[in-house]
């Protein structure tokens, strides 16, 4: 511990003399300082996170239509209703399908982009920026471009124009659930929006792989390309991959914006949050059932997160103890 040498490098701004005053005694107190720093945050967390969750659990046991101070206790009726509600259960199916498509495709595409960009020697920053740029665009704006320009079902629109070149008739991308072309619209929009972000994560991880590993593999006769990728790159990216998959899953679970905007006024393709939005804030204003739905979703996501963390060995961030 070479504190004496370090002291010489202390910034000059720190050298000001303390002012004497009534705060002197408190300033040294650790407890006081702890609450001074964390108090505002913790108070907000209590009011705007814990109380709503608690209130939501409370409301879920009451019949609460158009009111947030209900009087009629109904026990588990709201939960029973939600679990036997076809629309709500359908939204869970929609989420499962969505997650099953979007998580692997985003993982693969962002890793692929990272591998490409990582090998570039010229214009690397340029290409990285291009792939990263869509991260700045909102889901609403992307939905608008997708719905009104690329996948416009009527007669113009890029996708139908391109298909027209091959003599394929117009496809009603969003207006018809059978065949479910709307999935193509939703998945491509989200891929475009989020791949750049995960590419940055993979790029950072790729640059952390020690070069010796590749040298050693080359000496051992591993062929460059597929073999090195499979036996070195991929295992070295394990921690990042796990985290990316977890983040993607949580993000898919919260999908709302593009479903809400792309599939306005349709009865198909409603993920859980859209369904909840219509139950709680639509014409019914049913806070009781809406809250029950929120509780069910929260329990589900906690289970999935914990379960996945267990399976994929997400124990690295546990230094917190």
């Amino acid at each position: 511990m070479s504190t004496t040498t370090k002291l010489d490098h202390a910034p000059p701004a720190a050298a000001k003399a303390p002012k004497a005053g009534p705060w002197r005694g408190l300033r040294g107190s650790r407890t006081f300082n702890f609450w001074l720093f964390t108090g505002p945050f913790l108070a907000g967390l209590l009011i705007f996170v814990y109380i709503p969750i608690g209130w939501s659990i409370y409301l879920s046991f009451f019949e609460a239509r158009f009111t947030v101070t209900p009087e009629k206790f109904v026990g588990f009726d709201n939960f029973r209703e939600m679990l036997s509600n076809d629309d709500f259960m359908g939204s869970l199916v929609t989420f499962t399908v969505f997650a099953a498509i979007i998580v692997p495709t985003t993982w693969a595409l962002s890793l692929g982009l990272a591998l490409l960009v990582n090998r570039l020697r010229f214009m690397r920053a340029f290409f990285r920026s291009v792939f990263f740029l869509p991260t700045a665009v909102s889901y609403v704006a992307a939905s608008l471009i997708w719905k009104m320009s690329i996948f416009n079902g009527v007669r113009f629109g890029l996708a139908n124009t391109v298909l027209g070149v091959f003599d394929v008739g117009n496809v009603a991308w969003l207006a018809n659930p059978d065949p479910p072309w709307y999935w193509l619209v939703i998945v491509t929009a989200r891929l475009w929006l989020q791949c750049g972000f995960y590419m940055i994560l993979f790029l950072a991880a790729l640059q952390n792989i020690p070069g010796e590993l590749y040298e050693a593999a080359a000496i051992d006769g591993a062929k460059r390309g597929w073999q090195t990728f499979w036996y070195i790159t991929l295992p070295q990216l394990r921690a990042t991959s796990t985290a990316v998959i977890l983040l993607l899953l949580v993000a898919a679970y919260q999908a709302f914006d593009e479903f809400f905007n792309l599939l306005e006024r349709t009865t198909w393709g409603r993920p859980p949050l859209v369904e909840l939005y219509y139950i709680a804030l639509g014409e019914e204003q049913d806070y009781g059932r809406g809250s029950a739905g929120a509780v069910i979703l929260t329990l589900l996501i906690c289970t999935v997160t914990l379960f996945q963390g267990r399976i994929m060995g997400f124990g690295r961030g546990e230094e917190a103890k």
Binding site: L7, A13, P52, F156, G293, A294, C302
Partner: protein, 290 residues
């Protein structure tokens, strides 16, 4: 971090792909890049075209006459007060960012650096909230905010979003790695925790603050669900809610809608151009370490 070893590797082993594979690499990357840029191009193209050229049967990739006058149209539109929505987003995005940085950084520092006997329990109480995604609790949050009478107000749009457990967690992790000697020196010189924080810790952490600020601003600007729930009156709409309302309007005015979208993205593109270095660095550092 001294990663000098890969340099030996680069000229010989790894990079012996030859002209062919390197050309292939650039072709593949360029194709991907063009695909990623097409939506931007369509947005700009359509926002500067007439409706005929957007919806006409002979769709051209390049429009023939560019309508610069489209630029002011969203601001003169009587159905949606677009200028108001842009202003609301500016106010909400800025105050949201400032608030999150202030509240979460202080808490992160307190949790990382100030010894207190219950600090661990409190930290777990923060971690638990990470398990419950904020979006899932929008119903109860709305119930709370509406009973406070904050619907259609800036308070309602901004304050509930300030207390991000995740951002607090990121700050805590960052401050755990901050060189302790600097603060100790400051405290030997007579500054308390508060003084040391503002005069030594913050000035030496500006890169990290800039990274978090950029990410927070982008998320605040692009947020949709919460502003949709809170902004019931058009005067409280943020730009995202306004854009969404265009899509459901009875009359569809294509060039105006695309121009409004393009304008709504502009501030973020500026943020990107000027702050990309911090943003990339921040994501790489905080997204997950390792």
């Amino acid at each position: 971090m001294t990663t000098t070893t890969p340099r030996i590797d680069k000229p010989r082993g790894k990079r012996r792909g030859g002209v062919m594979s390197s050309t292939g690499l650039y072709i593949a990357t360029s194709v991907a890049a063009v695909l990623f840029l097409i939506p931007f191009y369509l947005l700009i193209r359509n926002s500067l075209s007439t409706d005929q050229e957007i919806t006409g049967s002979d769709w051209q990739f390049f429009p023939t006459d560019i309508q610069w006058s489209n630029i002011t149209e969203p601001f003169d539109d009587p159905t949606v007060d677009f200028a108001r929505a842009m202003w609301n987003s500016m106010v909400v995005g800025t105050l949201h960012t400032v608030g999150v940085l202030l509240v979460c950084s202080l808490a992160g520092y307190g949790l990382a650096r100030i010894p207190y006997k219950h600090a661990n329990k409190i930290f777990y109480a923060v971690l638990v909230t990470l398990m419950v995604p904020a979006a899932v609790t929008f119903v109860p949050s709305f119930v709370l905010v509406s009973s406070l009478g904050w619907v259609d107000t800036y308070r309602g749009l901004i304050i509930p979003g300030l207390f991000s457990g995740f951002t607090c967690f990121l700050f805590r992790q960052y401050f755990l790695g901050f060189p302790k000697e600097l603060e100790e020196a400051a405290r030997v010189d007579g500054l308390g925790y508060w003084g040391a924080y503002w005069r030594v810790v913050v000035p030496n952490s500006l890169n990290f603050f800039a990274a978090i600020a950029t990410i927070t601003f982008i998320n605040g600007w692009n947020a949709f669900l919460w502003p949709l729930v809170i902004g019931q009156d058009p005067s409280a709409w943020t730009v995202q809610v306004a854009l969404s309302s265009y899509m459901t309007n009875q009359t569809v005015n294509y060039h105006l809608i695309f121009m409004a979208t393009a304008i709504s993205i502009l501030p973020l593109l500026f943020v990107f151009l000027f702050l990309q270095r911090w943003l990339v660095q921040g994501i790489a550092q905080t997204g997950i370490k390792g």
